[in-house]
Structures are given as C-alpha cells and as structure tokens.
Amino acid sequence: MAKRHVTTTVNGEPREFLCEVDQTLLDALRDELGLTGSKEGCGSGDCGACSVMLDGRLVCSCLALAVEAEGREVETIEGMADGDRLHPLQRTFLEEAALQCGICTPGFLVAAKALLDRDPDPSETEIRYWLAGNLCRCTGYDKIVRAVQKAAVEMRAEA
Amino acid sequence: MARVVLPNELARELAGGQKELEVEAENFRQLLKALDRRFPGMGDRLRDGVAVAIDGEIFQEPFLESIGEDSEVFFLPQIEAG
C-alpha cells in the first residue's frame, strides 16, 4: 500500500511526512514527527489525552486521519510555550499542583487554552463542561479547575 | 513470656485449635524456633509471607525484630500494595 505524502504546518512550522491512509493524526504526530506530547489514552475520542488544535478547532487527534492534515494547521502541546516562556496555563498547572501522574496534562492544557482563547472569563461550570472530554483519574479535577481559573485571572490582568 | 496470637487457620491445623499461647522468646527468630518445637512444621509456615504486629506495630518482615517480656505478637497476612 503506497504511503501518502502530507504537507502541513505544525506549531507554526512547515512539516512533511509520509503516512498510511488509515493512520491517525495522533499516530503521525507521535511516530512520524516525534511529537509524543500528545498521548493516546483510548483511541476513541473518550479521554482527550490526544487533544490538538486543527485549523483553530479543538479536536481529538486520534479521531482525525493524518491525511486530513494536508494544507492545514496543527497545534500541539509542544508549541504551547513561547520559547522558554511558559503559557500562563502551564505555569498555573505547576503552581496549583494540577497534575499528579501527568499523562492527561498535555490534553488538558491544549483544551484549556482553547477555552481561554475564546472566553477569557469562564465560570467554574463552563470550565468543567468544556473539559468534560478530558479524563483525569488522579486529581478529581479540583486543582485542574483552579489552575484554569487562576490562569484566566492572570491573563485578563495582562490583557 | 510474650503472648502470641496465631492465625485461625494455622491454630486449627497445627495447634489443635489453640489460638493464643505464651512463648519465651527474645526475638522473632527464637519465637519461630519455639513454636516449631511445640508444633512441628509451624516455623516454616510462619517464616515467609506473613506480617506480624508486635505491640501494635505491623512488620511486613519481622525476622529480625526483638520481642519484649510482655509483648503481644500477632500474626497477620502481608498487606498488599495498592
């Protein structure tokens, strides 16, 4: 089976890779581009550990085909910090101890950033529903929600 | 004399149902020997895979522990890690 050649943009940089037609975007990111920050927790869109932005929309990269990335823009956890400057969410997750094992953390950060980019002042309920597609089994979500709230406050102050 | 409480199953199997007994021993190794003398085979059964509470403190591996004059020695299953 001939592989497909895909030209895309990942975290602002042009990238190319070869993939199988049925290979998911997640597998291509991890196996072809070495971007293993996006995790596979379920492979069925139920855990959110593979969350990425695809043309500005939050999606599960396990539920997109790699070939669909042709000509589009992908943003992953690896592109979230600005050089050595962490995104406020990355910082508040650390300060608020919003991670224990850390496997779900990249997905939560990508999803939470998508939320704050569109709504700088979400309520606790809005945060919880927005993040309902991201499973965390360690924290009970308490500190994650608080970290998002804290980042929102800081980002509003900076804006 | 230390007061020793055997596991139910072992008491029934090897000690004729006697669950509590007094044993002269300064440490756990002596205790095993003493028990084995009284109830042949018991020493081996209590050597591995059991935990012991000596005066309320649980030891997952009691082999080297000392036993006081009036100590209470309680045999328990090892505690599984979660």
Binding site: G102, G140 | A53, I58, F74, A81, G82
Partner: protein, 761 residues
C-alpha cells in the same frame, strides 16, 4: 515531633515539582513514548471466550504474512510448577502469573492472551493475529461471585481445593480459601445488644482506570541480556517477575522505568513486559507492545465484585456490642482477591470487644484482579459504614456522634488483632463534626451522608542515594516510580536535611542497575518509607560533610556541627573558623577525600495507620434516578504533609474514584461472559462536570516513627466514598442502595420498588 509550625524550612511548603516542566510541555516520556531503531510492533491475540480449552494453535499462516518476525505462545515460556516463590516483596504464585500473561491449556476469561506477534508494522501484526488459528473447545463459564460458589458451578481449576476449612475438602471448587478474623465472642456481644441491624451489600467490579495503557519496549541481545523500558509501579518488580517467567537471572534484565501515567495498584504486576521480551528473544529485534484501551479493560487488573453481609448490635445509648461480617470477593481467574484485607479493615475504625469477619476468595471467569487503592477495603467499608448509618437512624443518633462514641483510639485493640498506637481517627470525626459543611442547609431531594475508612499503611524495603555534585547541588536517587508527585516530597526532605535550597536538589528515578532493590510504589509507602531512606542517605551526606569540614579545619569531627547548610565550629573552643557551605565543601572535595555521597538501604518499619472521614451531599432526581454530588469534604489524618498540595491531591483523587465506584463505574458482562463495556465511553469514570470541588481537611497527628511524622495517605481516601454516597442517597430519597453502583437504572428501580418512599429524614 512537635507541632507542624516547628521551624521547617521546606517540609510543609508547596514548591513546583521537579518533573513538572517536562509534564506541562509534553517532553515527559511515558511508557508508549520510547522507541528504538529497528523496533517491531507487538500485538497480542486474546480469547473471545470466557472459558475454553485450547486444543491447538496454528500460527503458520501468521508467520507467512510479510513483515511478521515472530509469534509466541505459552510454549515459548517455561512451564512453572504450582506454588509460591519468594521474590523481593513477598510470595507469589508464578505459575498463575505465567498462565495469566499467556494462557496455557485453557483460557479463563474474555481477553486472556493466547498468542502474540511481532511485525514491522501494526497492520502486519494485526493481519497476522487474524490468521492465527486457535482451536477452542468452549466450556461453561461463571462470572458472578455467588454463582461461582454454588456446588456444580463451572470449575476453573481442577486442582483448586479450598484452604482454611476443616476438614480439607476432597473435591475442587472455585473457592480458593476461607479466612476468619475474630475477637471476643460475637454472639455474646449480640446478646448484650438492644438494637441489631443487618444487611447485604453488593459491589460491582471496577477498574483502576489509569489513563496510560500498559506499554513496554523490550530488547534482548544475542548474549541473552535484556533491557526493558516500561511504565510500572516498580521496576524491580518488573525485573523479578520477568526473570521468573522467562527463566533467567535478575542480573540479565535491566528495567528502565518511564514516567507512569497512573497506576492505583493496577501496575503492580506485569502483562506485556514478558511477552515483549519473549517476542524480542525470538525475533532478535527490539519489540514494543502498547495495549489498546479495550485490552486494558478486558485483561488487566480490575478489582473484585463483592457480596458482603453485615450485622451490628448496639445498646440504646449507642455503644456497639458486636460486629459480624461475611465477605465474598471474586479474584478473577486466579486466586488472590483482597478479601483478607476487607476482613481486616471492615471494623478497624471502631473499638469493639466482640467482632468477627469471615472471608471467601473465589475464582471466576474474569480477568485476574490486581490491587486497586486500599485493596479490599472500600467494599467492606461500604457494608459496615452503611449498616452504621442504619444503626444511627434506629438509635436516633447523629451518625458522626455514633462513630465518635465507638472510635478506635490509642490502645484500642483493632478488630484485626493488634493494639493501635498513636492514631488520629477521633480527630478526623471531630474535624468533620466541626466543619461548616456538616451544618449547611439542604434542599428538597437532597441528603447528606458520612462514612469513615481505615488503612494500615506499610513500610518495606527501600533504598535511596544522595549525591553531592561538584557545584554544591545534589541529586536524590529515588528508586520508586513517581505517580503523584513523590519526587517533590523526596527533594523537600533532602533539602531539609542538607539545609540547601529545594531548587538545588534534583531527584531522579533510576533503572534497576543503578541503585539497590526497592519495593514497589504502592500501599501508601513511598513518602513514608522511601522518604526515610532519603533522609537516612542525606544524613550520611551531612556526616560526611562534617568530617570534610573537620579535615579542612584540622579539628575533631565532634567539633563540627551542620546548621543551615553550613559546617560551623560546635563552639568557640573548637576555634574561630568561617562556616563552610555545602557548596564550598563540594568544590574542595578532591582535597578532602573525593566525591561526597550517601546511600541508604532500609526495611522501613513504623508505618502509621491512616483514617479518614468523608461528608457527602447529593441530590436525587426522583424521576430519573440521577444522583448529583453537590458537595464533598474529605478529612484525613495525614501524619504530616510534606508537600500539602500533593497530599490534598491524593484525597481529592481518591474521593473522585470512590464516587465513580459508587455511582456509575462497573464491569458489565454479556450472557456469554464477554465484557460489554471495555472503553471509556461505557465504563464511566467521573468527568470534570460530574464533580464539585472536593474540600480537604488535613488533620496532622504526626507519626512518631518517621523523621518528619509522615503517614501514608494514598489509600484511605477511596474507602469512605462508597458508603458516604450511599448514605447521602438514603437521606435524600429514603431508599438505601445496597447494590453499587447506584446507576440511574438501578436507583430508579429501587425507588419504584419502594413505591411509597418514607419521608426523607
């Protein structure tokens, strides 16, 4: 140890964890993130049947698929005789473990591995799996614990004779053992009672639900030396278990731990690691196996489904005179459910003169149970703490006051035998009683429940090293995989002893060849036991630093004290010397005897038991049976919190798992004995919108046997929620849920059965 404000510089603070940056930037390497050149993809063929004899396996067509490099079956593993062998942590039946990793002769559950393939791509490996022909003779199966105990139930093991009964049975059964723990005379106790409550309680099997599937890369060299990269709760466990299953010496296997994406007990054993090794050995190339989520649910450690009978008697004034419980836990396909621990913990929070717990360990056609956070305790506590709620109702007593009146204290003879030393159970009940939550108003269809829980906590074999670097920073070699922030705690304790900044201490988790053996990360032992080893190793470094300073000053070592990270003369009699900092001593170490380092190997003793008391408010929708958790407070005696944020996190995460267990998580089996919900879609762990904030109250009754007063904290918080939620439901709608999860269909059926529910009280 005096009070918690006793002048610690780092203990009790909340610095950023050392591994945090890697985890928020996607750089941290978990089990599936490692690759090797020339690596093959391993996939496992699993039984579609709950119970079948394997008459033959023909893999010839699979080997013909282009790209397939090896196929293994049970024949590729040495046959291990039945019986327990000792390895680091305790006795283990390696025949059972081997048969669980790769079925031998019979498959015992849906998802049981029968063969594995290594190929150059996932597609080739899957195609090969499709072409392996397994000749199954399907046998009758049983998945229910009570049905499995019936005479005439389908038999899993011809050689399983119940242990612990007299006389020994002459016929095999599915009951692996009977255990009994008792104090006093239970019937005499009931004779003293004015009020007796009785009930039967059922829980369904639940999975640990870690988000990271099991993953391993194995590479076997031509000389037989093996390297394994994997995610586990103990690299030394992986080494010992793989060595036994493959029939090689420990020294031939080096296990390199990855970051671990959650375990909760489920990664205290092995599944894919020995299979990857066997495939690599056969293929001569590295092999990576990563489970899919459905494989995780079908074939790795859920915990037992259970049936628990409880009877409690009390006097009119609320003194419990007797407690009696019978627990039946299924272990999955091989014996070893946590029923003993259920027996031991059931009544542990209480002072009872007459108490008995009888347990049965039962095999069924389900995956072999693995440890899950406080193994065995939540189900027993569900029964006992629900019955206590009933008792409080009958006595007209506040349920927390009832618990307080019967609380275990220092000197209480625990229900499982020994006497408690310093414990903080009473303090947790008092803190719950005093909490504003306990007096907050409730609306219609809302109710409040409380429950308590106990866990032993353990110590165990632990090692650690502290190395001083040339520039005055330090490395802590902490041999235990860090699941929930333990590296931060280790760095805090080392910084406290050394007197240097937390940021100058860097902990790492090493491979099995770089530090002596340590028991697994589990049983709430790491911050306690490995922490003790770290403190010990750091103290050795301090001793060494004093001796180096003594050499520099040419004085006796007794003349040197270590304060605030500096060597100082003990008194002016010693001489007038400028203090020597750790950095200065490190820089000059070549002159004073070479590198400075400490290493400790201990078998940690003195783990202090943990107790928790939870308060839960729910609202019940009487028309749909939906339960909403409105408010939740978890109180726990934590000894002393080294890093309070991660201690709170343990309480919050444990409570969330317990709430999931109580409300919606369960294994659902088909008539054919196959698992119907092997995914996060229908195995319903709580999502963010299901839960409120989870308040925590850290009660600190320091453990005198730890240098900083630590008690283990991870297990306790999953124990109370089952009953706390069920009790809250009872008070919201008048219906007691004796069967968890209280999923909407189950609760609505119970509400309808009650028809005219009593007024909520």
């Amino acid at each position: 140890m005096s009070d918690s404000a006793s002048g610690f510089k780092w203990v009790g603070t909340r610095p950023v964890r050392p591994d945090g940056l890697d985890k928020v930037t996607g750089r941290a390497n978990f089990g599936a993130d490692f690759t090797m050149p020339g690596m093959l993809v391993g996939r496992i063929l699993r039984s579609p049947h709950a119970h079948a004899r394997v008459a033959g396996i023909d893999a010839s067509a699979a080997l013909a698929v282009p790209g397939v490099k090896a196929v293994v079956t049970a024949e590729d593993f040495p046959e291990i005789p039945d019986g327990d062998l000792m390895v680091g942590e305790g006795p283990m039946n390696f025949r059972d473990l081997s048969c669980n990793v790769m079925a031998r002769g019979k498959v015992l559950y849906d998802g049981h591995p029968v063969a594995a393939v290594a190929a150059t791509s996932r597609a080739a490996a899957e195609e090969a799996l499709d072409r392996i022909r397994v000749d199954y003779e399907v046998l009758p199966h049983v998945v229910d614990v009570l049905e499995a105990m019936e005479p005439g139930a389908p038999l899993l093991h011809e050689n399983l004779f119940t242990e612990g009964v007299d006389p020994k049975p002459d016929r095999p059964s599915n009951v692996a053992s009977r255990v009994e723990f008792s104090l006093g005379d239970v019937e005499a106790g009931f004779a003293e009672a004015d009020v007796v409550v009785e009930g039967e309680y059922t829980t369904e099997a639940v999975h640990q639900g870690y988000i990271e599937p099991h993953a391993a890369v194995a590479s076997v060299g031509e000389d037989g030396h093996c390297t394994v990269w994997c995610s586990s709760q103990g690299q030394f466990m992986v080494r010992a278990y793989c060595a036994k299953l493959l029939g090689v010496e420990n020294s031939r296997i080096r296990v390199i731990p990855s970051e671990i994406g959650g375990g909760f007990g489920g990664k205290t054993t092995i599944y894919v690691e020995p299979v990857a090794l066997a495939l690599s050995r056969k293929a001569g190339r590295p092999v990576k196996i990563v489970m899919d989520r459905d494989e995780v649910f079908r074939a790795t450690g859920p915990t037992s489904s259970t049936h628990v009978k409880v009877r409690i008697g009390a006097t009119k004034d609320g003194r419990i005179t007797a407690g009696d419980t019978e627990l039946r836990y299924q272990a999955g396909a091989f014996s070893g459910s946590p029923v003993q621990l259920g027996c031991m913990t059931a009544f542990a929070p209480y002072h009872l003169d007459h108490v008995r717990a009888v347990g049965y360990d039962v095999v069924v056609n389900r995956p072999k149970c693995a440890a899950y956070r406080a193994p065995g305790a939540p189900m027993a506590a569900f029964g006992v703490e629900s019955a206590l709620d009933e008792l409080a109702g009958k006595l007209g007593m506040d349920p927390l006051e009832l618990r307080l009146a019967n609380a275990a204290r220092e000197g209480t003879k625990a229900a499982y035998g020994p006497r408690f030393r310093q414990i903080g159970y009473v303090e947790t009940v008092e803190a719950a009683l005093a909490h504003e939550h306990y007096r907050a108003a409730l609306g219609p269809n809302q109710g409040r429940g409380v429950a308590s829980g106990f866990w032993f906590n353990i110590g165990g074999q632990s090692s650690a090293a502290v190395h001083v670097n040339e520039d005055g920073t330090a490395v802590v070699v902490d041999p235990n995989p860090d699941i929930g922030g333990s590296r931060a705690s280790m760095a805090i304790m080392a910084a406290e002893v050394l007197g240097i900044d937390y940021d100058r201490v860097r902990p790492i988790v090493p491979d099995t060849s770089s530090i002596p053996y340590s028991d697994m990360t589990g049983g709430s032992r790491v911050t306690f036991a490995v922490g003790m080893a770290v403190v010990e190793a750091a103290k050795q470094v301090v001793e060494e630093l004093r001796s180096r300073a003594a050499k520099v000053w040419d004085v006796d070592v007794d003349g040197v004290v270590w304060e605030n990270g500096e060597a100082r003369p003990a008194s002016s009699n010693v001489g007038e010397f400028e203090p020597l900092s750790l950095a200065a001593l490190a820089e000059g170490s070549a002159k004073t005897g070479g590198p400075i380092s400490g290493q400790a190997t201990i078998n940690a003793r003195g783990a202090g038991p943990g107790f928790g008391t939870h308060v839960c408010d729910v609202e019940v929708d009487p028309d749909t049976g939906r339960v909403t958790v409105l408010r939740y407070t978890a109180v726990q005696d934590v000894g002393r919190a080294i890093h309070p944020s991660y201690v709170e996190g343990q309480l919050q995460g444990g409570a969330a798992q317990g709430i999931g267990w109580a409300l919606n998580e369960e294994y659902v089996y088909s008539e054919a004995g196959t698992l119907e919900n092997p995914g996060f879609l229908d195995y319903r762990v709580p999502v963010a919108s299901d839960l409120p904030m989870i308040d925590t109250v850290l009660v600190e009754v320091p453990n005198p046997r730890h240098p900083y007063g630590v008690r283990g904290v991870g297990e306790v918080p999953i124990i109370p929620p089952l009953a706390a939620v069920a009790n809250a439901i009872r008070h919201a709608c008048g219906t007691r849920m004796n069967h968890l999860p209280a999923s909407p269909p189950r609760l609505l059926a119970a509400l309808d059965a009650a028809k005219l529910p009593e007024a909520a009280d």
